[in-house]
Symmetry: C2
Subunit: 266 residues, 2 copies
Amino acid sequence: MQDGETLTGWPSEVADEERPAGSREKGLNRALNILEFLHANQRAIGIGDLAKGLNAPRSTTYTLVRELVEAGLLEMAGDGNRVYFGKKLYLYGMAYMRGNDLLRRGRQEVDTLSRETGETSELCMLQSGRYMIVHSSPGTRPFRISSATGLQIPLPWTASGRLLLAGLDRAGIEAMVTQDDLVLPDGRKLELDDFIDDIARARVTGYCVTSGLVDAYTKCLAAPVFSAPGKVEATMCLVVPIDTSEERTGELLALLRERAARLSIS
Amino acid sequence: MQDGETLTGWPSEVADEERPAGSREKGLNRALNILEFLHANQRAIGIGDLAKGLNAPRSTTYTLVRELVEAGLLEMAGDGNRVYFGKKLYLYGMAYMRGNDLLRRGRQEVDTLSRETGETSELCMLQSGRYMIVHSSPGTRPFRISSATGLQIPLPWTASGRLLLAGLDRAGIEAMVTQDDLVLPDGRKLELDDFIDDIARARVTGYCVTSGLVDAYTKCLAAPVFSAPGKVEATMCLVVPIDTSEERTGELLALLRERAARLSIS
DNA sequence: AGCGATTGTCTCTTACAAGAGACGTGTGTA
DNA sequence: TACACACGTCTCTTGTAAGAGACAATCGCT
């Protein structure tokens, strides 16, 4: 470890999953873990630290990193022995965006919305069963509420989560949330049944508002983006201070729903 | 093959390289080839076609695709059995951009420059020894000269190529170009010595202009972006009609060099 | 200088993933 | 109805890549 800092944000999915023993691990998985680890830490990491952080043998890690660097998925960072994402990933990412109308237009709508309202606005999607902020535009308030794009958050913590699951039946929903997901950051525990009720309500009303869920100061307004009738592909949401007036909340919600609906005509 | 179309743009690096025999291939490499293949074709591809296109066994391809989809690097495209890039790649790509000042600022400069001049403007870098368009902004002419980002082009075909190699000695340059690279699209053959002279001249003057190299109708103006004194990290370039007047060319070049210099202060 | 920790490379073994191929199903067409 | 061809899944074998560990070189500390 170059600095005293411990490696925070260790994604539990990366390291453990079901681990039969100290058995061998496939190279591809190791490589995927490396990418995930770099993403979680958002900075260049030394190869040794990478091996430590992932419980991977040093020799293997060196080999993999070399291959990934040659392929252009990783690059050696300036000072010499640290690695971070490479140009190839940037290119693939741009290709994804080009090939994905919804994402491309969604980013624009979110940027516009946050400029018009001054509030933080986000585009969210499901990513392998978890809620994910795909694009976020910070807004102009003196104290911004910002969250990193790519952050994965338990579905029950968010308004968007309630909408994203609106297409599923009870069994489907249960399969998507673990017991841990129902525990909020401040320790409160949600009831699964309440959550399912929320989802049903969100499906009917076509929007969802939550207050003080992930933290005590914010309210979250979300509206669904449909890729097909009944199929929620994404959500747009606004993150506003919890003391925002009823009236303004109503205005914002109407605007948000209009924009989300516009995105849906795909 | 779903449609009658043949798979064009088969990247020769992907399929052959040195192939000892019908020997086994590492899973990671196969996966990297899949990504490269999708990038070359810029569209969703069926798993069967993927296997064909990469000379990979069908069973292996199914397994790999499943793993990559689970990891989020790939996604099943709408209709069911085709795959394309996934959200994870988008996120990694954005992380790369965030972590890379030069790229982030370079994109902005390029966009600005193309808006101000109305000409096509590009940001170029070296990517594992090849010239690559990292970002491109189309300009406002009725007939646009556009090239896909991520396209890899032989270094001797471009003005930027001459600048990107400005930091290398003769041996270094020779290592970067093959005989094939010296043959232009219209069949003309460049002399290696002429190319090396061009590079030396570009190093001294701090810019490079080429006319009618990749095609007969365009002129290419390029200026270097330095990451350290003498180290060319990228180039900005303008693609203009070949009959652009001396005077306007001079103006554009001056503007281009100013902007590239601004990027260099890093 | 003396010590411990880290870095990058290399060798050798064996656990296991890549691949061949069979199977059942679905789809288009003659 | 029969045929040819794709798709998706499964099983079994064996070639090989993951991993353990040794090594020299370098770094940072006292």
